[in-house]
Symmetry: C2
Subunit: 334 residues, 2 copies
């Protein structure tokens, strides 16, 4: 791994941190650095609330009404159905960490939520997961019908790319192309859609191994989460060292996120989840808890979060939001 640090964000790092990066990711001094940085005054709950409000406002104005009304209503219904807005927030945080300002990343952040939303709309369809509830509300096809839910998803997907091109200001064209390539890859056959199909195929198998489960989740959930974090840095023109660190951070929190999701499906109730719990067990679906047990799953998730945070060490204070978000993933209850 190339540990040379040349990015302008990293040159501000103290000699202590620079040395840490120059030696090894496994170095125990990294832990100290992390411990020191986590002590900075930062309220994640306030941070998330503020960012969420900014994202909601941006999403609200991203799609107005139009003809045919039902199509726009259906798109807005799912896009504005709440949720943690974790994906856009990760993109914004990564942009700021890389030295950019929020405005540069907001259209991409909205686009990421559009892509995520359309994947949920289609995933909920009778031909797929056949879910009636999502985020505590009726799923799109239960309200608008299957045909509209399919087409509204088909409309949200390209709109994400159009929105990035038309709405992003102050970012060179070549960077936007990289962002578009990253996002389109993340939701396609080599990302989200591939993970969904692998998930469907795995339902027929009797004994699902951990490697396949990892494949499913690194594609179904991980690829888009990684795109969120990396795209925020791509917009700012971050160098490869930064991009690789953020990519590894994201892949680790992505897998941890899924493990926690599997655990919550067993331990949480409908009000906490906003959807029907216990679905995995009912479907006799292989999950991390079913393969590893709940305790070992929790331990693995914790280990992934620690690995993720190690990648952020050189960024010092600038990484506080992403570091806190990693901790949030493991402690969340819904």
């Amino acid at each position: 791994m190339n540990t040379k640090i040349s990015d302008h964000n990293l040159t501000q790092a103290s000699s202590h941190v620079t040395q840490t990066v120059d030696t090894s990711l496994q170095s125990s001094t990294l832990k100290d650095t992390n411990t020191y940085l986590t002590e900075a005054t930062f309220n994640l709950s306030d941070y998330l609330a503020q960012r969420r409000e900014q994202v909601e406002a941006a999403l609200e104005s991203s799609i107005t009404s139009g003809y045919p009304e039902k199509l726009y209503e259906s798109m807005r219904y799912s896009l504005m159905a709440g949720g943690k807005r974790l994906r856009p927030i990760l993109c914004l945080a990564s942009c700021e960490l890389s030295g950019g300002v929020l405005e540069m990343a907001m259209p991409t952040a909205c686009a990421l939520e559009m892509l995520h939303t359309m994947s949920l709309m289609h995933d909920d369809l009778p031909a797929l997961d056949n879910d009636d509830y999502r985020r505590g509300k009726l799923t799109n096809h239960k309200v608008y019908g299957e045909n509209i839910a399919i087409l509204a998803g088909d409309a949200l997907l390209p709109y994400a790319f159009e929105y990035i091109v038309v709405q992003t200001k102050g970012v060179p064209a070549d960077r936007l192309l990289k962002v578009i390539a990253k996002l389109s890859h993340a939701v396609g056959a080599k990302g989200l859609a591939g993970g969904q199909v692998a998930d469907l195929e795995s339902e027929k198998l009797q004994n699902l191994d951990l490697a396949t489960l990892n494949f499913i989740h690194s594609h179904k959930t991980g690829a888009l989460l990684e795109a969120c974090v990396v795209s925020g840095a791509l917009l700012v023109g971050a160098n490869n060292e930064v991009l690789h660190r953020l990519s590894r951070y994201a892949r680790n929190i992505g897998l941890a996120f899924q493990i926690i999701d599997d655990i919550l499906d067993i331990t949480a109730n409908k009000e906490q989840l906003g959807k029907t719990p216990g679905k995995d067990e009912k479907a006799q679906k292989a999950t991390y808890p079913s393969l590893l047990g709940i305790n070992e799953s929790r331990y693995q998730a914790q280990k992934l979060i620690e690995e993720a945070k190690k990648e952020l060490a050189p960024f010092q204070e600038k990484a506080i939001p992403l570091r806190s978000l990693a901790d949030y993933i493991i402690t969340r209850t819904h």
Copy 2:
């Protein structure tokens, strides 16, 4: 309308043609020019066969196999199911007309076919048109199941944009962004998906008027056809005068294409169409023939084709393929 001509393709036009454009589109001298140009030696059938072969080869290599196999098979099944490849060919022709070379436009041409294909895959689903046959073969969901057909469409859509970014060589980034904006707009709520929903909604209406029928088709079919023609010129950096002429050309042939489609649904048989004919009448669907009669529909289509060809007058010999394609649309039997 600004009729000033400054594009390098147009400066080669004879003074006769330049004068024609400087006066009026309705000028009778344009007709003479068209008549003269159509007499050039050009074999549309050979041209289409050659272009189709080039497009097939490019599409063939655009998606190779991968894991999960079923997803890639499903994507390839519909993408390689034949068809006229009219959309990619329009894009290539427009690129050449604007002074570009085929290689510049081939990735965009493939992307257009991917977008068209995914719209057909979803349109054929039981929740939408519920079609068993397409291009003489079983529809995607009849072979791979509804869940895979939905996800394969969802994978083809973003891949189109990824493919443009990754595969296009020798085109500045800002032009590629314009192409991406054009294509994403064309298949979204303000284009194809919007037209599909308007079409669904119209099925409930007793009396559909011509304005609504025009809205449906200008969105469902027209928007993507226009994007094919305009994107070919965008890649070359054509000026606004050229873009507007090509846009009007495309919108006119797009509507004519749909009128002929409606007529063929009545007059052609299954072998000619590659799909079940008579579906519109069976579904008591408003069509151009049902609103205007077959003869008046044919006349309207012919008029649109003439209008379309007028837009091409200043491009002289360079427009022969697009001009012949316009004529082909009105004379086709499938």
